[in-house]
Symmetry: C2
Subunit: 592 residues, 2 copies
């Protein structure tokens, strides 16, 4: 059965000890009220909520799934009550703009909360997370009147939000979308078209659903430069700003999926639905993408959260399950066999999971702090540097978190042996739920192209060099730290490897049109392993200094495990990447 | 939607051109009648059958699953008719002993058939495959009278068979099992106990089910040396050897699983069920394990077959799906976008799948030929060498096939983007179905321990050395082959790496009790990548010589891709393995 306690100690260690987040928060007016005590208290309350409200609904949400009946979507039993509790406790408002009723908590805190909700009930988590994305977009691009009308109700959770991008014939390539927006005389538009894979497109949790829809104006330029963004409420607002007349948008069906079955994934049919433009004409894609960095981190965290609940459950099982005797001698003489946690192969699995989860948590907090700096800092140079770092690391975090998340959930399932394959134990649900995070919010292949193409090749590797300078500066400053002396050489090598591969990428991109697409995936993975190495070294350095930290030994051992057992993968990936594009592009299409 | 054509060309290339299987068959009396024409005809008929009978039932079998009602298990709609067709066509008898009505086809041919049935309907395939396992065991250990009574009906498919090993508290560690066998005066035994995870323990496909059950005699020694094997029919036979009185064995429930939902995974309750001992008292585990090499290859092939149907489906989708423009220039000027098969990242995915599938097919045929030699050769030295090779490679094939099979199915799902996550497209079922092959028939962790411990350390690496001598001999003999000159150095390096790691393993095993368990998994993976490299070089050498082979270029390019993009992983695994056991064993149990 699933075991989960919010990993508060490790979260506080990362936030408070490794990154001293409170110092950054205190330095910026928008976050000055967020003290260490407040952050700790929020995490503690969040832990109680997810353990008590979300986790108990997770299995049954998977078994029941959502149901569709003539356009009406019903969420699994208990979801509506849990949602009401969740929003009444204020969690829907956590990181919203205080000017419109949000609580203004920084992303560096929100990432830890998001990890928890994904760990305990990913299907449930997606409803408020998609609304978050919609509010971020409105807050950045809507008119003051729109914000006043919609944001307070969305922060309170009375209304939900969606993001409607994909169509049956286009997902990655939105430039070829067909949904049309025809202007009306009153400044509104009539939206017509079909959107698919719309998370929370229809459900029974809220009184209204505010769709953010990408569509094309009649005279729009071709391709992605001709896409505009529209706000389309499920219920049009009456004169008192309450949900009134039903708008021309209907849920045509819901998808039957591998996992996240409690999350309604909807086909949405817009038939002359009334909408209002958000932002400028033909600038819709850019507007939608302003919150993508936030959302992509949140989706990456699905992999981290599920990886952690899988780890915790696997540890519990491995301590309980008796099978065979430890190679080094009997551990449980009074029992018929030893707990399997004493077998090397089981430890390899558990430590792999743990090293990946804790590395991911550190990276999420790091990127969160960069997002906070980019948004709230009063220092323009700091903002700009942070924006650059966020742009560079967001695709890494989204793809590496979700790829390693699936890997971690598969390992956790393996620890359970045959029981891992049986639904009632819950381990296989984590695998199924985690799988989608590699696909949606931009497939991981697209994340890799974004990294290698837009974030590296197009700026001549400047962002990577800035990152490497910071990491190398940290290494230099910690050269004398005896607690990490054994891993620093490997970290230096890893940073050099990333440097070399970046140079290769830039070189090859000039002469070979396929160079980026043929090596982007490996490049992203190398980046992931290298940045985890740096963050692991930072965690080890901090733990080494915190002699009273109760998990000090575990942190140091897990870090060593990371360097010995996981970082070497970066070198194989480098060899793969160096093979270039020639062979893979040479195969004739018909020969596949 | 799933696309599958039996890969007859590649199967014939491997069997006829690479391995010249017909020469081996002709050299042994038991297989002398198996000509190349006969083998080709069997594969062709098999292809028609799996495409026409099994594939159409695969999706609905997953959606409906099996149902249990008061001990009666009903298979999905269409399974019973398909089973009747299957057995009437003689497929249940394919590799059975001709002395009792089997067709006596060699395993080297059967592996290709098994790949096909797994590809098209793994859930269905498991029913005849488990019966196969039971007949292999009976053929090796039962009395003549038992064989005459049971084998003809099992080969004809009128009766099915099971293997009952696992109990709720023990799977890997069968020594602690509790099922009891109490002798009766008439030479029979009364069997009492509960077995779980019994594939095909109860179903509606056959008139009788013959359970092979491991249990302990009242005076049995403790542990795995006190286990005996019993034949327990669902219906006791009447005087005419027809199913008569119901025996004391009932299906208590079926498992609700992640996948293989059309396969009934049963809890079997034996309550003074009458059984008859097979083989000698307390020798049951050894008897059951005589057919393990055959069965483990068959289960590994689940990964290969599913990997291939996933590949074929992904290729079809990648040729059809239009999204974005190729980096090297427009490929489909008249359409709104290019087929995604022109993107480097999609080719990376497809070629990875293909290189793993074809490498696996070659290894399956290679091990099949060794199994045939071990069973049928009249040359004692050849038999002994083949037995040794089979013992060494079976754990590699089972684990590496199924691990890479899951990986391949996940990649194929990724090619479909969001549609890969939706059930109706079928790609996610392949992932769910493939997952179990890493767990059952001995988890892949157990396969790795079997390899590193029993097959390598316990014989001082002699079996590995014999393998390396053969592979190096082949490399020496092919030194001048211009068609593979570019990959031979990497193959030599790979063989040396395996040699070095084997020496490390033997060294460390002497001084560190945990050395094997802490590195077995990586060692097995290295072995897999290295032996695929050898087999890929062999396929490339053969293709290079077959100038009229229509898939010659594709074979050579895919081989190069394997060496460039997949073999490098072996070197990272080596670094991981060399880290040893110290860090992973140092963590206190409570600290996890």
């Amino acid at each position: 059965m699933a075991t989960y306690k919010a990993p508060l100690d490790d979260m506080r260690f990362v936030l408070n000890d490794v990154f001293e987040a409170d110092k950054l928060w205190a330095s910026m007016p928008a976050t000055a009220e967020v003290t260490r005590d407040l952050a700790d208290a929020i995490l503690e309350e969040a832990g109680k909520m997810v353990e008590g409200v979300l986790l108990p609904l997770n299995r049954q949400g998977d078994e029941q799934g959502c149901t569709w009946n003539d356009g009406v979507v019903t969420t699994p039993e208990g979801f509506k009550d849990a949602y009401n509790t969740y929003r009444e406790m204020g969690w829907t408002a956590l990181s919203g703009n205080p000017a419109f009723g949000g609580q203004g908590m920084p992303k560096s805190l929100a990432v830890l909360f998001e990890e928890m909700i994904h760990a305990t009930n990913t299907s449930f988590a997606l409803y408020p997370l998609l609304s978050n994305g919609a509010t971020l977009c409105l807050d950045a691009h809507a008119t003051q009147e729109m914000k006043e009308t919609y944001l307070p109700k969305m922060y309170s959770g009375e209304w939900a939000g969606t993001m409607c991008l994909t169509e049956p014939h286009c997902g990655t390539d939105l430039g070829i979308m067909r949904t049309k927006a025809v202007p009306n005389d009153d400044g509104s538009y009539n939206i017509t078209g079909t959107k698919i894979f719309i998370t929370g497109g229809e459900h029974d949790l809220t009184d209204n659903i505010i769709h953010l829809v990408l569509a094309k104006l009649p005279d729009a330029p071709a391709g992605s430069k001709g896409i505009s963004l529209f706000l389309v409420p499920k219920f049009l607002l009456d004169d008192n700003q309450n949900p009134g007349e039903r708008n021309g948008v209907q849920c045509g069906s819901i998808e039957h999926k591998m996992g996240i079955k409690g999350s309604a994934t909807c086909v949405m049919n817009f038939d002359d639905a009334r909408g209002w433009m958000v932002g400028e004409p033909n600038q819709g894609l850019a507007a939608m993408f302003t919150m993508m960095n936030y959302e992509r981190i949140s989706i990456g965290l699905q992999g981290v959260g599920l990886g952690d609940v899988s780890y915790q459950s696997a540890v519990e099982y491995a301590k309980d399950r008796l099978q065979g005797r430890a190679a080094s001698g009997v551990q449980n003489a009074s029992g018929p066999a030893d707990p399997i946690i004493h077998h090397g192969d089981v430890r390899r699995m558990l430590l792999t999971m743990r090293a990946l989860n804790e590395g991911a948590r550190a990276l999420a907090a790091y990127v969160g702090l960069q997002l906070d700096t980019a948004k709230f800092s009063e220092d323009a140079a700091a903002r700009s540097a942070a924006e650059d770092r966020v742009a560079l690391l967001t695709p890494v975090a989204k793809a590496f978190f979700s790829d390693r998340g699936l890997e971690t959930c598969i390992i956790g399932q393996q620890v359970f042996g045959g029981h891992g394959y049986v639904r009632e134990w819950g381990m296989e649900q984590f695998v199924r739920d985690a799988r989608i995070a590699q696909i949606y919010e931009g497939t991981n292949g697209i994340q890799a192209l974004d990294l290698a193409g837009r974030k590296v090749a197009r700026n001549g590797g400047k962002s990577v060099q800035a990152f490497l300078a910071d990491a190398r500066g940290w290494v230099d400053a910690n050269e004398g730290n005896a607690g990490i002396a054994d891993v620093l050489p490997a970290l230096r090598d890893a940073l050099q490897l990333l440097d070399d591969l970046t140079a290769d990428l830039l070189n090859n991109a000039g002469s070979d049109a396929d160079a980026i697409s043929a090596s982007a995936c490996e490049y992203l993975d190398v980046f992931g392993y290298v940045i985890y190495a740096w963050l692991w070294a930072r965690m080890m350095a901090t733990a080494s200094d915190c002699t009273d930290y109760p998990h000090r030994d575990a942190k140091l051992l897990t870090g060593r495990f990371y360097f010995q057992r996981l970082l070497p993968k970066a070198h194989a990936l480098a060899a793969q990447m160096r093979a270039g594009s020639e062979v893979m592009m040479a195969m004739d299409e018909a020969a596949f």
